[in-house]
Point group: C2
Chain length 142, copies 2
C-alpha cells in the first residue's frame, strides 16, 4: 500500500517535470531561431525585370535553388525565395522579378563551394530565365 503511494507520487512528480520542461525548451528554441540570423551573411541573387524578360518560378523553386543549396553543405543556414510584385509606386516599373537568398555562416566558404560548380549553375539559368542576375552580399544586422 505504501509502496503504491510512493510510486504514485513519483509518477506525479515525473509528470509535472515533463509538463513543465515542455515550455522552456520550446521558448529557447524560438529564441534561438530568431537570434541565429544576426551576423549571418546573405548572398542575394536578384533577377531584374525588363520588357521581354521571363522567369519560371516553379523551376527555380523545385530545381535550381535546391541544386545550388546542395553545393553549400553545413555553411548554409537557410535559403529563401521571393517573387517580385511591384515597386513603391504604381507608375514605377517592377525592380526585380525574383530574388533568391542564401543565408550562410561564411562568405569565403560560400565562394569556395560555388567556384567548382559555377558552370553547372550558369548552364541552368537558361532553364528558368533570360535575365542576367545581379548579386548582392550583405550582413544581417537585425
Amino acid at each position: 500500500m505504501k509502496f503504491k503511494l510512493i510510486l504514485s507520487f513519483l509518477l506525479l512528480t515525473t509528470c509535472f517535470a515533463a509538463f513543465s520542461q515542455a515550455k522552456p525548451s520550446e521558448k529557447s528554441k524560438t529564441h534561438n531561431m530568431t537570434a541565429n540570423e544576426k551576423g549571418l551573411i546573405k548572398v542575394s541573387i536578384l533577377y531584374p525585370y525588363a520588357e521581354g524578360k521571363t522567369f519560371n518560378m516553379e523551376y527555380y523553386e523545385t530545381k535550381h535553388m535546391p541544386m545550388v543549396a546542395g553545393f553549400l553543405g553545413a555553411n548554409l543556414v537557410k535559403y529563401t525565395i521571393e517573387k517580385g510584385l511591384s515597386a513603391g509606386a504604381p507608375d514605377q516599373p517592377l525592380p526585380f522579378m525574383a530574388i533568391g537568398t542564401f543565408y550562410v555562416k561564411s562568405l569565403s566558404e560560400y565562394r569556395a563551394a560555388i567556384a567548382p560548380n559555377i558552370d553547372a549553375i550558369r548552364a541552368d539559368f537558361a532553364n528558368y530565365t533570360n535575365a542576367i542576375p545581379e548579386i548582392f552580399v550583405s550582413e544581417v544586422v537585425k
Copy 2:
C-alpha cells in the same frame, strides 16, 4: 490496493501522453515558424550606394526602423535590417548600403498605416542618409 494500482496506471498513461505530446508540438511550432513566412508580403526599402552617399546604421537601427515599425501594428510580423557588403565580384560597385524590410500580412493595410505618417518618415531620412531609397514589394515563396 486495486484503486492505487489503477491510479498508478492512469498517471503512467498521462506521463506518456505528456512526453509524447512534447515532441510533436515542438516540431509543429518549428514548422509553423518556417511556414509562417510563406505568403507574407515583404516591403523592402533599399538604399543604393553611390559616391558621396552616407548611411548611419546606428540611427537607422535604433530610431528610424523602430519608429516606422510602431506605425504598423498587428499587420507587422517582423522586420529585418541588413548592411550592404559587396556586389558579386570585387570590381563591381556596392549595389546597396543597407536594406530594411517589413514582413507584413497585408499590403493594403501597410499602405493605409504609412500614408498618414509619410511626412514624419521622410523628414527622418536626413537624420541617417543622403541617399534616396527605392522600394521593392515582393511575396515570400519559400
